[in-house]
């Protein structure tokens, strides 16, 4: 039994404009000692889903269904009081922007000690000692002195270290890191990623890392889930996602990032169009309006996330035939454009996709809620 097992999780928000389907039926699991990377663009539902695990999306206008089984208990069936004992104790979370995520008018020691005292019978002095110990553990020099500092007196990297110290103060079984390095410089990012990896092996925690950066997950994740418009469209071991991906959106992501590990003259292949509105999802496969390999049936049928016949750990939600997909992927790797690949493998001219259709989406709200 996995530590965290999510089944068919849906998070819908009722808004004045309609129902925002921020998360629309996702399933995944993580074991202790393992790292799951959730990759997606803004509005893909990656942040909402993980905040729902923490019970942070319980709002009046949120409708949540499915199962979140953590350590044998369905968190969605828990009362607020029960959930509070899990939050920050068994499951901890770190956020993207450590400056705005730390309280500006309390010292770091104070904030970490508070996290300790919520879940433990500890005196103020004991909690403070624990805070100092944690600050030292995450590599903050002179932790006893620095515990008295306020967040604005720290650099960005140091703040994120303090945030991690706070998250790990109660030895959580699961750490959720929501874009933990996005606000940081690249050398600091490397420090933080290394810290997360080191602490994970020390604490034997499960880690869910949410990011838009494929490079980050390539370095730290064991398994990757690619999210698009509230769904997981592909889920597999890290090598599989990078070397034999099966979903056209994953191909698109890999093709649109400038990479350090390929010859420079390789052209970027942007994904045409833009993510759909979560209020008004397109029928059929959500990706079909942007998919270069779309066929008529894809506009009507919604593909389920299914394991590959030859690799049960590799899940894909795509209506294309598996053999066609593999041929397209090898065409793309050989340097052909999506249009050429389509012509060769499907035998039809490519669909007309406006590079960037001009209606502003109402999508991103789901992420903020």
């Amino acid at each position: 039994m996995a530590l965290l097992e999510i089944t068919d999780l849906r998070v819908h928000f009722d808004t004045e404009d309609g129902v925002v389907r921020a998360v629309d039926g996702i399933s995944y699991s993580v074991d202790r000692g393992h790292t799951l990377g959730i990759v997606g663009e803004s509005g893909s539902g990656k942040s909402v889903s993980s905040q729902t695990v923490m019970g942070l999306t319980r709002a009046a206008n949120a409708r949540i269904s499915g199962e979140i089984v953590f350590d044998g208990r369905n968190l969605l069936a828990c009362s607020e009081a029960e959930l509070r004992r899990v939050r920050g104790n068994d499951i901890a979370m770190i956020f993207q922007d450590p400056l705005s995520s730390l309280h500006p008018i309390y010292t770091l020691g104070n904030q970490i000690a508070e996290a300790v005292r919520v879940h433990n019978e500890a005196s103020k002095a004991q909690a403070w000692d624990r805070a100092v110990e944690m600050l030292g553990l995450v590599g903050i020099p002179e932790p006893r002195r620095r515990a008295d500092a306020y967040p604005h007196e720290f650099s960005g990297g140091m703040r994120q270290r303090a945030m991690i110290a706070m998250a790990l103060a109660n030895n959580p079984m699961l750490l959720i890191a929501d874009e933990p390095t996005t606000a940081l410089d690249v050398t600091v990012q490397a420090q933080i990623l290394e810290l997360i990896e080191r602490l994970q092996s020390e604490f034997n925690a499960a880690v869910v890392i949410i990011t838009h950066d494929l490079g980050v997950v390539a370095e730290v994740a064991d398994e990757i889930a690619v999210m698009y418009a509230g769904r997981i469209v592909e889920r597999a071991a890290v090598d599989t996602v990078f070397y034999t991906p099966e979903h056209p959106y994953t191909w698109g992501l890999l093709g649109s990032i400038p990479r350090m590990d390929v010859p420079r003259d390789e052209e970027l292949v942007p994904i045409p169009g833009r993510p759909p509105s979560l209020i008004n999802l397109p029928g059929g496969c959500s990706f079909h309006p942007r998919c270069p390999y779309v066929r008529d049936a894809h506009r009507r049928t919604d593909p389920p996330l299914q394991p590959m016949p030859d690799d049960p750990a590799h899940h894909v939600a795509c209506l294309l035939d598996a053999t066609v997909r593999r041929s397209i992927w090898s065409d793309l790797r050989a340097g052909r454009t999506p249009a050429q690949a389509r012509k060769a493998e499907i035998g039809e001219p490519p669909p007309l996709i406006e590079p960037d259709p001009e209606v502003a989406p109402v999508a991103a709200e789901g992420d903020a809620a």
Binding site: R259, D356, E358
Partner: protein
């Protein structure tokens, strides 16, 4: 190809004063945002300026644009000194240089139609005065940057982030400037949209023969876009090289550390790399370390040399200009920077 220098920067310095005092405020120090930058921008090239936050790259951009006054140094644009230009000279200069900003949301006036936004430079500079002519000119530019020219009368909020950045590009192009300075033009955009804008800039640069100064923190984006790259650290250029030189064999240990730190979208390559993690933080630009500013964090620093003797920007093996007494060897590069093994 003749190399015509469009912009020549020598000894560029920008210090922001820090003051204190009971009645009379006196200057007690300065944030040395940019401290002695020499740089040439060659006509038709894309020059990248890369560095982490606080390295002075954005201040440099604003100085080049003359959006702020340099503390010292000279900036020559096509041979004319512009470091102290004012009034009419400055206005004339603005026709030749334009800027693209990071945030496409806050840099567009929400109460103006995009036609008005793009044609604003015309009004300021009195170009294309006739109404029909102006509209035609704007629509031509909208077409060039991939916006539907019929959407002339729409407002910024009706467009997505990627398209707003296209509007920003169109506005910068309106006067057909010789030089465009793009300050982190894609870092606020989603991955799939980023590629659209990068391709647009690259195509425009090729087709219109633009000269582009491209400022970014993302080394892979810079590698994709630029012909030459300057790496900045704490207000100084530590390495300056062609794209091929820089990414195949970085010579400055800071450049090496930056490249080593960039996550690689290739799990096997990532696993083999010996990640070189720099310790500590960037020191304060108010009180930068003496001599080589990187020596406090440098894995190769030699006490008694690097902290006393400031290295100059000089040619090293392979042709890179680097300001370092002990540049990286090829062996060190291969170990730390796996991407260097990829043929550039």
């Amino acid at each position: 190809m003749t190399k015509e220098t469009l912009l020549e920067v020598r000894g560029l310095v920008k210090h922001f004063p820090v003051t204190s005092g009971v009645i009379l405020r006196r200057q007690i120090g300065a944030v040395q945002a940019v401290d002695g930058v020499d740089l040439d921008v060659i006509k038709g090239e894309t020059l990248g300026i890369v560095g982490e936050s606080g390295c002075g790259k954005s201040t440099t951009a604003r100085l080049l644009m003359r959006l702020m006054e340099p503390t010292a140094g000279s900036i020559r644009f096509q041979g004319h000194q512009i470091a102290d230009a004012r009034g009419r000279d400055l206005k004339a200069l603005r026709r030749q240089m334009q800027m693209i900003f990071q945030d496409p949301y806050s840099s567009l006036n929400p109460r103006k139609t995009i036609g008005a936004i793009i044609s604003e430079p015309y009004a300021v500079h009195g170009v294309h005065c006739a109404d029909g002519e102006r509209r035609a000119a704007v629509q031509e530019i909208m077409d060039i940057v991939g916006l539907n020219p019929e959407h002339f009368n729409r407002y910024p909020h009706e467009f997505s982030g990627g398209q707003r950045q296209r509007i920003g590009v169109a506005r910068a192009l309106a006067l057909r400037p010789k030089l465009i300075i793009a300050d982190e033009p894609v870092s606020a955009l989603d991955v799939s949209i980023q590629a659209q804008i990068l391709n647009l800039l690259r195509d425009l640069q090729r087709e219109l023969g633009l000269t582009l100064v491209f400022i970014a923190h993302d080394l892979s984006v810079v590698r994709h876009m630029c012909d030459r790259v300057a790496v900045m650290y704490l207000g100084k250029i530590v390495e300056l090289a062609t794209n091929e030189q820089l990414y195949a064999h970085p010579r400055h240990p800071y450049t090496g550390a930056l490249m080593s730190a960039v996550p690689v979208s290739d799990p096997r390559l990532a696993a083999t790399k010996k990640r070189q993690v720099l310790s500590g933080d960037v020191p304060s630009p108010t009180n930068p370390p003496p001599a080589c500013r990187f020596h406090t964090r440098c894995p190769k620093a030699v006490p008694g040399r690097c902290d006393t003797d400031e290295p100059q920007l000089e040619a090293k093996a392979g042709g890179n200009l680097a300001a370092c007494h002990f540049p990286l060897t090829d062996a060190e590069v291969t170990e730390r920077v796996p991407t260097a093994r990829v043929a550039s």
